[in-house]
C-alpha cells in the first residue's frame, strides 16, 4: 500500500513507530517519487531552521530585565498621557470617590492602615511602615510597585496592600494617600502578582511622574534618608 503524504511526513520527522517506519522504507525503495517527497519534507525543516534562528538574548535586553525585576523597571513604551484639563467637578468627584474608598477601608481596619488628618487621608500603621521602609519588588502583604518623584517634587510610591491599593506621596513626616482603590479583585492568589498593579493606578502614576521612576539604588537611598 502506498503511504499517504501525512505518513511520509511523519516518517521524515521520525514520528512513526518502528513497524510503520519499516513499511514506509519498503515503499520508498520501490518508488523514487515517494523518496523525493520525504526529502522535500526534510529539506523544508532544514530551511526553516535557517530562516528562524534562536538568537541568544543580548546583555541588557529590556525584556529579560523586565522579567528579572518586574516592579522596578519602567513599563514598556511608557504611555504618554496628555495632561488634560478636566472640569473641576470631575476632580472633586474623583476625590470624593477616593474618600469613600478610604473611609470604607478605614472603618474596615479600625487600627488599620489609613487615618484622616485635616480632611486628608494619611497612611498609618503597617502601611506607613511599609511605605517608609519597603523596596519595590520585595514580597509581602504590602508591596511597593513603583517609586517616583512627582511633578510637585514629593517622592511618591504606588503600593498594593491587603485592603487598599493606591499612590502615596510623602509630606514632611507622613504619607498622603493621593489615590486609593479598594483592593477588590477577589482573593490574594491571582491578584498579588509582582507588577500586576491596577492599570489605572499605573496610568495615574504616569500622569504624576516627573522624569523616570526611581531606580532600586535611588529608592534604597530614599529609604535611608527618610524620603526627604
Amino acid at each position: 500500500m502506498t503511504p499517504d503524504d501525512a505518513t511520509l511526513m511523519a516518517y521524515a520527522d521520525g514520528e512513526l513507530d518502528p513497524l510503520a517506519a519499516k513499511r514506509v522504507e519498503q515503499a520508498l525503495a520501490a518508488d523514487p517519487a515517494l523518496a523525493r517527497t520525504v526529502e522535500a519534507h526534510r529539506a523544508l525543516r532544514a530551511r526553516m531552521a535557517v530562516a528562524y534562528p534562536a538568537a541568544p538574548t543580548p546583555a541588557g535586553d529590556p525584556l529579560a530585565a523586565r522579567i528579572a525585576a518586574p516592579a522596578t523597571v519602567v513599563p514598556f513604551t511608557p504611555r504618554v498621557v496628555p495632561r488634560t484639563t478636566r472640569p473641576r467637578w470631575r476632580q472633586v468627584a474623583a476625590m470624593a470617590a477616593c474618600l469613600v474608598v478610604g473611609v470604607a477601608v478605614g472603618t474596615q481596619w479600625q487600627s488599620g492602615p489609613v487615618t484622616a488628618k485635616h480632611g486628608a487621608l494619611i497612611a498609618a500603621g503597617p502601611l506607613a511602615r511599609a511605605l517608609d521602609t519597603r523596596l519595590a519588588a520585595t514580597t509581602g502583604e504590602t508591596r511597593m510597585l513603583l517609586s517616583f518623584r512627582g511633578r510637585d517634587g514629593r517622592p511618591c510610591r504606588v503600593f498594593a496592600a491587603p485592603a487598599v491599593d493606591g499612590i502615596a506621596c510623602h509630606n514632611a513626616d507622613d504619607w498622603s494617600l493621593v489615590r486609593t482603590r479598594s483592593a477588590a479583585g477577589g482573593g490574594r492568589g491571582a491578584y498579588r502578582q509582582a507588577g500586576s498593579a491596577d492599570a489605572t493606578l499605573m496610568a495615574e502614576a504616569q500622569e504624576m511622574i516627573a522624569g523616570e521612576p526611581l531606580s532600586r539604588e535611588q529608592e534604597a537611598a530614599a529609604v535611608v534618608q527618610g524620603w526627604r
Binding site: 511523519a10 535586553d61 507588577g195
Partner: protein, 163 residues
C-alpha cells in the same frame, strides 16, 4: 532570581523565534513577545515548578497571537470597507515591498492560514514532537497532523521541491 524568572529568561530566545515565525514582521514579533511575558508574569501562580516552561509559554504566546491577529483582521476589514466605499483602490505597492524585503520563507509562512502556520511553527521551527504541539494547541493529534501536512505542502509548493 527565583526559578520562575530564571526559566522564563532561559526560554526567551525560543519565544522570540516562535513569535518571529508567527508574526508579520520583527516589530510585531517583539510586541507579541512583550505581551506574552506580561501575561506570564501575571499568571505565574498557574505555572507549576517542575513542569515545562517552554510549553507553557508557547501556549500563552499562541493565545496572545490569536487575540491580536483577530483584532488586526477586524481592523483590516474596516479599512478595506472604508477604502472601497470611498472609491479608493488599495495600494498594494507597500505590501509587495514588504514581501520582497522579507525572506521568502517568511512570506510563504505569512500566506498560510493561521491554524496551519502555528502547527508548522511549533513542529518545524520549535522542534516540538507532534504530541507536544497538539497539547500546546489543544487539538487532537489527527487535527495537528492534517494541518501540518497541508501547511507543509503549501510551503514546499511555494519554496520549491528542494525547499
Amino acid at each position: 532570581m527565583a526559578a520562575f524568572e530564571n526559566e522564563l529568561v532561559a526560554v526567551l530566545p525560543r519565544l522570540r523565534r516562535f513569535a518571529r515565525s508567527l508574526s508579520r514582521d520583527a516589530a510585531d514579533a517583539e510586541d507579541l513577545c512583550q505581551v506574552a511575558v506580561e501575561k506570564a508574569l501575571k499568571a505565574r501562580d498557574q505555572w507549576q515548578p517542575g513542569t515545562r516552561m517552554d510549553s507553557w509559554m508557547y501556549r500563552i504566546m499562541r493565545n496572545a497571537w490569536i487575540d491580536t491577529a483577530r483584532a488586526r483582521r477586524r481592523a483590516a476589514q474596516t479599512f478595506v470597507a472604508e477604502a472601497a466605499g470611498a472609491g479608493v483602490g488599495i495600494d498594494g505597492a507597500q505590501d509587495i515591498a514588504r514581501h520582497v524585503a522579507r525572506g521568502e520563507v517568511d512570506a510563504a509562512m505569512q500566506r498560510l492560514p493561521d491554524e496551519q502556520r502555528e502547527a508548522v511553527a511549533l513542529v518545524l521551527v520549535e522542534g516540538l514532537a507532534y504530541k507536544e504541539a497538539a497539547m500546546v494547541l489543544d487539538i487532537p493529534m489527527g487535527t495537528l497532523t492534517s494541518r501540518l501536512v497541508r501547511g507543509r505542502q503549501a510551503l514546499i509548493a511555494q519554496l520549491g521541491e528542494a525547499a
